[in-house]
Symmetry: D2
Subunit: 261 residues, 4 copies
C-alpha cells in the first residue's frame, strides 16, 4: 500500500475560444482510494464533470475564452494494487467473463488484426499465461527504443513494429495489439507514475486479463508498476487523452508531479 | 410506425469446439418496441446472454461442439423512428452532450484522423447541419460503388477512398469517418432492413448526432431507412459483428429475413 | 514548332559540405532541339556531367562547400512535339515494343498493383485508346484538387486517392498508376512549361505509350502541353528530381523561368 | 572459380492466349562466363529475345496459345565472383560513381524513405564499411523468419519489418531498403544458387556498392554466396521477375536446378 500526492499543473494559451475535455482526475477503481482531491481553473470557468464506464473514466469539460488557461489539480490517493501473481493462467475464450471480450477486438492504434504473422511466429508457441505476457513485454523492451518525439498522435502498433522506437503510449499499444492477436484481453491504462529518472509526465501502460483478474504490465520499465495511479482505462490512447482540445491553443507547460508520501 | 417479423436463420459447421458470440437480437432502443422474440440453438446448447451499453447491444455466447450448429431467431418488433427533420443543425462542440463526445474520435475502421485533406476540401465549406450530412451521403453514393466481395474484414474508410467500392459496412465507415473529421458525432448501426431487391442480409448504416438527437443515414440507398430495425450500435463494425467466432468453423448459410407485417 | 528561352536560377545556403545532383538541363529527345545552353555555379566549383538512358536524363554533380550556392542555367530550345492524334489505339501487350514493358510495372510512387478495384470499376469498361487515357486525365482533374503543400516527398498515387488533393507530380503519379493498372505503359516526365497564371516552377506530367508512340498527358490542365520542354523521364518522381541533396542545406529561392520566343 | 550446369524447367497451363516475358537466362556479367546455353518452348513458338542494361538483364517474350506451355532452359556457366574483401569501406556520396547513385533512391518494394527512425537507431552509429552491411544482414537473419507463403507479390520491406517473416526476395528488399536509407547503393539480384537443403528454386539476394565494387550479400544464409549465378539485376523484385504473365495461366511446376560440375 502506497500513498501519493499528485500535483498536476497544465498551462495553455488559448488563441480562440476553445472547448477542452480533460482527464487528469484519478479513477474510481478498486485498487486505489481517493483521500482528497481538488482542481481549479484560472480564470475561474464554469465546467462540467462527467464519467464513463461507471467512474473508471472521469472527465471535465470546460469552454475557455481567448487568453491564458491554467489548470491545477491536486490529489491524495492510496493505492493497493494486488501483488503480482506470476503463476496466473490465460483463460480459454469460453472462460473469459463477457465484459472482457470487448478488449479482444482491434482498435485504432492497436491493429491486432494486421500483425498475425509476427505474433504467431514469435509468441504463439510460448507457454500460455503470465510468463507469455511477460515475454511480450520483454520482447518490446528489447526491440523498441524509448525515444521522445519518435512518434506522433497517429502512430499505431504496426508503425511501432516498423519504427522500432516510440514513447510509453506506443509501448502500450504494441503490447495490447500482440495480446489481442493471441486472444488475451488487453486494454490501455493511463495515469501517474513516479519515474526513476525523468521529467514528470503522464504515463501509459496496459493491463491484461489473466485467470480472474486484470493485471498491469509496463514494457517501458520506466518506473515501479506498483506505484501507478490510474486515471483512464480504454481500448487505446484515443479513449483516454489527458486533454482533448477542440480549438486553437498552445500548450505552454505541463507538470504532472506525483510523489510518494 | 411499422411492425416487422424477423426470421433469422444461421447455419454453421463447427470443425472444432468453438466459442461464438452472436449479436442478432433486436436492441432495446426508444425507437423500437419488442413484441415478442425467441431463439433456439440446434443442438440445444447452454448459452449466456449479456448486454453492453444498457441494452443497446445484446449478446449471446455459446460454446458449440464439433458438428452442425443452427441458430434460429424470430422476433416481432414495432418501430417508431422519428420523422426525418431536415432542418436540424450541427451542434457546436460546446453544446454537444458529453456522452456523444466519444463518437468524435477515430476508430479502427474509421480513421477520421487520416482523411483531413479530403474532408476539408470537400465538405468543410458546406453549410452546416442536416444538409451537410446528406451531402456526405450523396458524395459516398456517387463516388463509391456497392460491390459484394470488394472489401474484407480489415478494410477501413481510408481503403474505401482508394478502392471506391465496398459493401454497406464500408459505406457506413466512410460516412462516419468524414463526419468525425468534421466534429460531428457519428456511430455505426447494424440491423435488419427490408431491401427493395436483394438477397436477405444484415444491413449496416450510421447515425449522426444533430441538434438534439441521433439521426440515421444510409449512403447505400438500399432500402427504406424508416424500416430499419436496430440490432447493434458501436464505434464501427468491430464493435457489433453479428457473429464473433473463436474457432474453426464454416458458415453454411445465413438468412436474416425481415418482413413488414 | 516553338522556340523557348529558359532561365533557371537556384539559390541555396549550404550549411555543411554537401553533394548535389542536379537535373535541370533539357533532355536530348527527338521532340526538342537544343540551340544553346550554358550553366554556371557560384562559387565556381568543379562539377561532373553524366547521363542516363542515352541522354534522356542529363545530370550534373557538384560538391558544394559551406556557404552560398547559386546555379544559373540558360538555354534556348526548339520543340516539335507531334500533333495530338486522338485516334491512337492502345496496344495489345503482345504488340508493345519490348522497351516499353518496363513502364507497366509499379514503382515507389505509382502503386499500380494496389488500386485494381478502383481502376477496374472506373476505367476497365471504357473504349480502349486515346479517349480512355483522356478519360483518366479528366477523372483526375475532376476528382483531385490542385493544392500547394497538400502532399510531400513520400506521397504516393494511393495517398492521392485518399487525399483528393495534390500538386503536379501527384497528378502525374496517379495518371501513371491508373494506366499501368490497365496495362498501358506510362512514365513520369519532368520539365519546363509556361503556365498561364502561376509562379514559374518546374512542371511534372506523364506520357503514355499508344499505338506506336509516346504521347504526353497532363491532368492538371495548367498549361499548353505542346509547350512543354522535357528535362527528365523516369518511372516516377524519384527518378528525376531537379535536385537531389546529400547534406544539410536551405533552399533560398528557385526560379525556373521559361518564355516563348 | 566454379562451373555449373543449370537445368530450368517451367510448365504452365495457359487458359487463354497469354503474353509471357521470361527472365531465366544467365546474365552477361564480368563475374560469370557463359559456356553454353539453349532453351526450348513446347509447343515450338516464335519468341523475341531482348535485353536491358547492356546484357545485365536478358529477356524472352513469347505469346502462348491456350494449352500447355513448357519451357526448358539449360546452360553451362563458369563463375568467378571476387573473393570477399571484408575490409571494404563505404564511399562518401561524393566518391560514388555516378551510375551507382540511381541505387540510393527508394523503390516500390524498398521504401528506404519510410524507415528512417529504425535505421538511424539501429545502424547509424555502427562503424561504416563492410562490417556495417554484414551487421544489417545479421540483423535481418536474427529478426526475420524465413517462411514460405508468409508474403505475397505486394509485400514491401516495411511490411517485412511488421511481419518479421518473409522469403528470399523479402530478405533482399529489407537489406536494400536499410542500405539505401544509410546512403549505401544497393540493388536486387536474382539468379540460381545451389541450396544446402531445400527444393530447387530461384534465389534472390542483394548487392551493395562498397569502395570500388559491387559485393553480393545474402541475409538468408541459405547457400554459398560464391556459388550464385546471376540472372537479373534491378532496383527490386519488380524489375526482374523470372516470369511476367499477361493473361490467365496456371503454373503447373517449376524446377530451376543448378548443379556444381
Amino acid at each position: 500500500m502506497h500513498t501519493f500526492k499528485i500535483d498536476c499543473q497544465l498551462h495553455y494559451r488559448v488563441i480562440q475560444m476553445t472547448e477542452f475535455v480533460f482527464q487528469f482526475e484519478v479513477a474510481e477503481h478498486p485498487w486505489q482510494t481517493l483521500i482528497h482531491e481538488s482542481f481549479q481553473f484560472k480564470p475561474d470557468l464554469a465546467f462540467e464533470q462527467y464519467e464513463r464506464d461507471a467512474g473508471l473514466n472521469r472527465l471535465i469539460r470546460v469552454n475557455a475564452p481567448e487568453g491564458d488557461l491554467s489548470v491545477s489539480y491536486t490529489a491524495k490517493v492510496q493505492t493497493h494494487i494486488p501483488e503480482r501473481n506470476t503463476s496466473l493462467k490465460e483463460c480459454e475464450i469460453k472462460d473469459l467473463p463477457s465484459d472482457t471480450l470487448f478488449y479482444l477486438a482491434p482498435s485504432r492504434f492497436c491493429e491486432s488484426d494486421l500483425i498475425d504473422t509476427m505474433v504467431t511466429n514469435t509468441f504463439a508457441e510460448l507457454p500460455k499465461g503470465y510468463s507469455r505476457v511477460q515475454a511480450i513485454c520483454d520482447w518490446i523492451h528489447d526491440n523498441i527504443i524509448y525515444q521522445s518525439g519518435s512518434s506522433d498522435s497517429t502512430t499505431t502498433a504496426r508503425d511501432i513494429l516498423v519504427n522500432r522506437a516510440g514513447v510509453c503510449r506506443d509501448f502500450a499499444h504494441l503490447g495490447i495489439a500482440i495480446c489481442r492477436a493471441l486472444n488475451i484481453p488487453a486494454r490501455f491504462v493511463f495515469g501517474y507514475m513516479p519515474f526513476y529518472q525523468a521529467q514528470p509526465d503522464f504515463h501509459a501502460i496496459f493491463e491484461v486479463y489473466l485467470e480472474n483478474q486484470w493485471m498491469l504490465f509496463d514494457a517501458t520499465r520506466m518506473g515501479p508498476i506498483d506505484q501507478f495511479v490510474r486515471v483512464g482505462t480504454g481500448l487505446d490512447a484515443k479513449d483516454v487523452p489527458f486533454a482533448t482540445v477542440y480549438g486553437e491553443i498552445e500548450l505552454i507547460s505541463m507538470s504532472p508531479v506525483i510523489e510518494l508520501v
